[in-house]
Symmetry: C2
Subunit: 241 residues, 2 copies
């Protein structure tokens, strides 16, 4: 392990519904930091939602419009405080306001989460692999709060071609005993790392994590690739629902 | 922003109580990847606990020993399932088994969390700044699980000389409107990023994040520096306690 690079991809124009996002990201990368076999490309949810037209009109003069929208995107409300709603979305994510965002979109518009972020990641990866000939992993990232700790961090909504969980079961610690802590939330650490070069206000919509272990991109033994089947906990398995 | 580097620091020997950890980390860095003004040095809790002798004997034949130890390090038990206890530690962290770890320590021994991880980070930083002349930030990291999502990720237990939270209030989004999501858990994203080059089993105990925004290392306007005052949520503020 000689180190990793976190590289922002500049030059991605404002994304509009129907845009070929894979090409915009790949061309932005090729014109700047390059795009290499073994890269992990992290693309923010916002531009994925825009390209997929996961946008809805919202009346900014109606104080209840946002709340209705959040309820419609949720299968279960967990907590409410003032304007803040923590819910479980139809996809299974637990987050604030069902991931609906009104920043960085046109006024009077709200961006919903992609319908299926793992599928979104697969489609982006298909562009990189089949059209550009680059074998890379793809993560669709979003910014979530969390219990216990202040501050938001970026996590993975969807992924393709990169192990969501790094399973260290059966490996030994530095003193030769089997490790107790075994499953690393790899795609979430990658998404958070990528956010360090994207920022929230700089208009950088994608980044590359370069130099990861090649084994991290081998998903051939997974029953199903992606974040939702591998990372999202079912309520029954969760100690806090 | 031209990108960040995540650099593992090799060559840190097995750490023993009383060792000068700051010197071990700095010498390891200087002999390999270097140590530069503006670097963020991330050091894992395990070696901090060892250097500070936060180790206790534990009878591996006593099935209740571990549970008693966890209870003694906790001010409140939140959930219990089988051998797993989620508690609020005396420091205020919410984590599994009060952060007590029996991997990567000698058999019959358990490593507790440092008494005050922000102080630990400050002391390490004092070594780097005053003995080596390097103005860097320091994070003490640990591996925590989280609700809603499978997999553990590294977060910051303590920090010094690096903004725990990046406050984007008052900045505008790419379309010029004020951002709604405002406070980024910067030290947690940095800790998780550093874990990508440390792994759990490779014996790498520290890493450098190189190339961060210089403003991230300016903590002069904070009332108090550190993770506990800035990141750890009080129960009253938390929607899930």
């Amino acid at each position: 392990m000689t180190g990793l690079q976190l590289l922002p991809i500049p030059g991605i124009p404002e994304v509009r519904p129907g845009d070929d996002l894979g090409a915009l990201v790949a061309d932005g990368a090729l014109a700047s930091v390059g795009l290499l076999d073994g890269d992990v490309v992290v693309v923010t949810q916002k531009v994925v939602s825009k390209a997929e037209n996961a946008l809805v009109a919202i009346d900014p003069t109606d104080p209840h419009a946002h709340r209705r929208l959040v309820a419609g995107q949720s299968r279960r409300i967990l907590r409410r405080r003032g304007d803040l709603v923590i819910s479980e979305t139809h996809h299974g994510y637990v987050c604030a306001n069902a991931g609906i965002d009104v920043s960085n979109v046109e006024p009077g518009t709200a961006a919903l989460l992609p319908e299926d972020s793992d599928r979104s990641a697969r489609r982006l990866r298909d562009v990189f692999v089949h059209r550009y000939g680059i074998a890379c992993g793809v993560i669709v990232s979003d910014t979530f709060g969390r219990p216990w700790r202040r501050g938001v961090t970026d996590v993975a909504l969807g992924s393709a071609g990169i192990r969501p969980i790094l399973d260290l079961r059966g490996t030994n610690d530095a003193l030769g005993r089997e490790l107790a802590v075994t499953e690393v939330g790899l795609v979430d650490e990658l998404a958070g790392a990528a956010d360090l070069v994207m920022g929230k206000s700089s208009g950088i919509a994608a980044a590359i994590v370069r130099g990861v272990e090649p084994a991290w991109l081998d998903v051939s033994d997974l029953d199903v690739d992606g974040v939702v089947p591998n990372i999202v906990r079912s309520p029954a398995e969760d100690l806090f629902r």
